[in-house]
């Protein structure tokens, strides 16, 4: 069966997925220390959605509940939703561009690069603002783009990026950058908690301005990558073949790198380093729906959103009232998955 023969099936499943995401958002918003009933949660959320809000009244719901939900829980969950979607799509596009199933922004060190950029700004340039905007996302972007460039050039052999060299250079760069971040932590004890947040990943500082920043960057970027998902398929044939099929390989690679890196930088500057999402989600989607990126990219975005909301909710409810950094939860899921992929690659190599 090919993509066009199954298109209507994919559409139906996607609609069900979007519905499922809505349910997950409502249920996740309901979890928390303050006791708010599921029905109230649903009503409060719906009261903020245009059109639907005409049919909803918030009579009998405590004002504090509304504030907790709308200003604390909802931005956090929407942030987890977009971060999950963005990281999964970035993972998918890295895997396509590197022709390497193990590529992921965390494993390649790109997330650490962004975190280092953000840390440097936080420690040294905290007062500097650019038209009222914090410099943190910009410096995260610079850190991420330099790291991508470094890792790619260390790893590549000609135009190919073998699995082994990519992983090794990613691990090496990752170590180097994390060490620099730790070093900066020891010199700046005043900021230590904030910096720990970058290195472990957390949504605990989520605010509506983060949600807006992320929305503005990730939604157009994901749309852009979806438009080019057919080209990403072709890239998997190898660069020479892709070129002979009419793809401007170098230009295409550059666009995808820049857009993916931009997303990683935005994600890291609001939530820190959250690993393995870009690995777990696209591969799980491929196991269900096959390898066509026209399917993998939209479903990864959806699956990533659901996955990270669930991980974040777990991080909030396992040890109440304290929180576990969400990066730890994703790593607990991610590392066995990574080993499984390595094992599969090994079996193929024999």
């Amino acid at each position: 069966m090919t993509f066009i023969e199954k298109k209507s099936y994919y559409k139906r499943v996607f609609v069900i997925g979007v519905f499922l995401l809505g349910v997950v958002i409502i249920v996740a918003t309901n979890f928390g220390v303050a006791d708010i009933s599921l029905k109230q949660t649903a009503l409060i959320i719906m009261s903020k959605i245009p059109i639907i809000n005409n049919f909803v009244s918030l009579g009998g719901i405590k004002y504090t509940s509304v504030i907790i939900l709308l200003n604390l829980r909802l931005p956090r969950i929407l942030l987890a939703c977009m971060v999950g979607a963005a990281l999964s799509v970035v993972g998918t596009s890295y895997q396509g561009i590197f022709k390497n199933p193990m590529a992921d922004p965390f494993i390649l060190g790109v997330s650490s690069g962004a975190a280092l950029g953000a840390t440097i700004t936080m420690v040294f340039l905290k007062q500097i603002h650019f038209f009222g905007m914090s410099m943190i996302p910009c410096s995260a972007f610079i850190g991420a783009i330099i790291t991508t460039f470094l890792v790619y050039n260390i790893a590549r052999v000609g135009t190919k990026v073998p699995v082994v060299t990519l992983l090794l250079s990613g691990v090496a760069i990752n170590y180097l950058l994390s060490s620099i971040i730790s070093l900066m932590m020891t010199f700046n004890r005043a900021n230590i908690e904030e910096i720990v947040m970058w290195t472990m990943g957390s949504f605990s500082t989520a605010s509506w301005s983060d949600v807006i920043l992320l929305f503005v960057i990730t939604v157009p970027s994901i749309l852009f990558i979806s438009i080019f998902s057919r080209d990403l398929n072709i890239m998997l044939l190898g660069e020479d073949s892709a070129r002979s099929l009419g793809i401007d390989v170098n230009g295409f690679k550059k666009y995808i790198f820049v857009i993916s890196t931009l997303m990683v930088a935005a994600v890291v500057s609001v939530s820190g380093i959250i690993g393995f999402v870009g690995l777990i989600v696209p591969h799980s989607i491929r196991m269900i729906f096959g390898y066509d990126n026209r399917v993998v990219i939209p479903f990864s975005a959806l699956g990533g959103a659901i996955f990270l909301i669930i991980c974040d909710t777990l991080s909030r409810i396992i040890l109440p009232p304290s929180e576990i950094p969400v990066g730890i939860i994703t790593s607990i899921f991610g590392v066995p998955f990574f080993i499984y992929l390595l094992y599969k690659a090994k079996k193929k190599a024999i």
Partner: protein, 254 residues
């Protein structure tokens, strides 16, 4: 019509020195030569995978560097040497990818694209395993898939880099016959790098023999494949006769 004028290419060392070739439409060309003589590089500069240092290449009087990648893809298909793919696409998906240059940005493959891909798969005898994953196939089957993709691309020129190197003798002849059919029936120009001198003699209208990074001899099989030339290029003593069944040049090393 492809014109290659005074082309040089080097990468750490000189790989192509002063190449001059004229390729006519509708003919079957084979490129021969010992390992490392520059055959693959010649194909890669033709497909714009490598940029030349000196000289010019014209396709139908247009300079190659002036032709957009997408336009070139409608004119020339490439079957590469390495057909390994990391991700498990189905045979049908891979063949459909040949339609890429013909599909506009915001569209998916049409019924017509499916029909053309089906036809290409039937020509190469892979239709019965169209739903199999590409990575479960043998090297020879995979090579036929890539040839089918090039056919589905519907171009006037097909470049092939050792398309039959992984195949057994039966499939070698099958692929070569299919290429000959395309060449005859659809007037497609075929340019194939080969190793087997006898197959080149049997199928090629024209042989380009590379030696020491240059074109050593360029002409019909009878002109190129002589005892003297093969002795010089391959350092091999051969006896040349005619294949009694086909009348084509036949080379026997001894």
């Amino acid at each position: 019509m492809i014109e290659i004028n005074n082309v040089c290419f080097s990468y750490e060392r000189e790989i192509l020195k002063n190449i001059n070739i004229n390729i006519e439409r509708g003919k079957f060309y084979t490129i021969l030569g010992p390992n490392g003589s520059g055959k693959t590089t010649l194909l890669r500069i033709l497909s714009k995978s490598l940029n030349i240092d000196k000289g010019e290449i014209f396709i139908d009087e247009k300079e190659l560097t002036q032709i957009k990648t997408k336009v070139l893809a409608k004119e020339m298909a490439v079957v590469p040497q390495c057909t390994e793919i990391e991700f498990d696409f189905s045979v049908q998906d891979i063949v459909l990818m040949g339609r890429t240059p013909h599909i506009p940005r915001f569209c998916a493959e049409s019924e017509k694209d499916m029909e053309i891909a089906k036809n290409a798969m039937e020509i190469t005898n892979i239709w019965e395993f169209r739903n199999k994953s590409i990575n479960t196939l043998s090297g020879g089957e995979r090579q036929r898939v890539v040839v089918a993709r090039a056919i589905a691309q519907e171009t006037g020129i097909i470049l092939l880099d050792e398309p039959i190197s992984h195949l057994d003798i039966h499939h070698q002849i099958e692929i070569m016959n299919q290429l000959k059919q395309l060449n005859k029936n659809k007037n497609i120009t075929i340019i194939a790098v080969l190793h087997d001198l006898n197959i080149a003699a049997a199928y090629g209208d024209h042989i380009i023999l590379m030696h020491d990074q240059r074109v050593y001899k360029d002409g019909t099989p009878e002109e190129v494949l002589t005892e003297d030339i093969i002795g010089k290029v391959y350092g091999l003593e051969v006896y040349i006769t005619k294949n009694p069944k086909t009348g084509k040049t036949f080379i026997m090393p001894f």
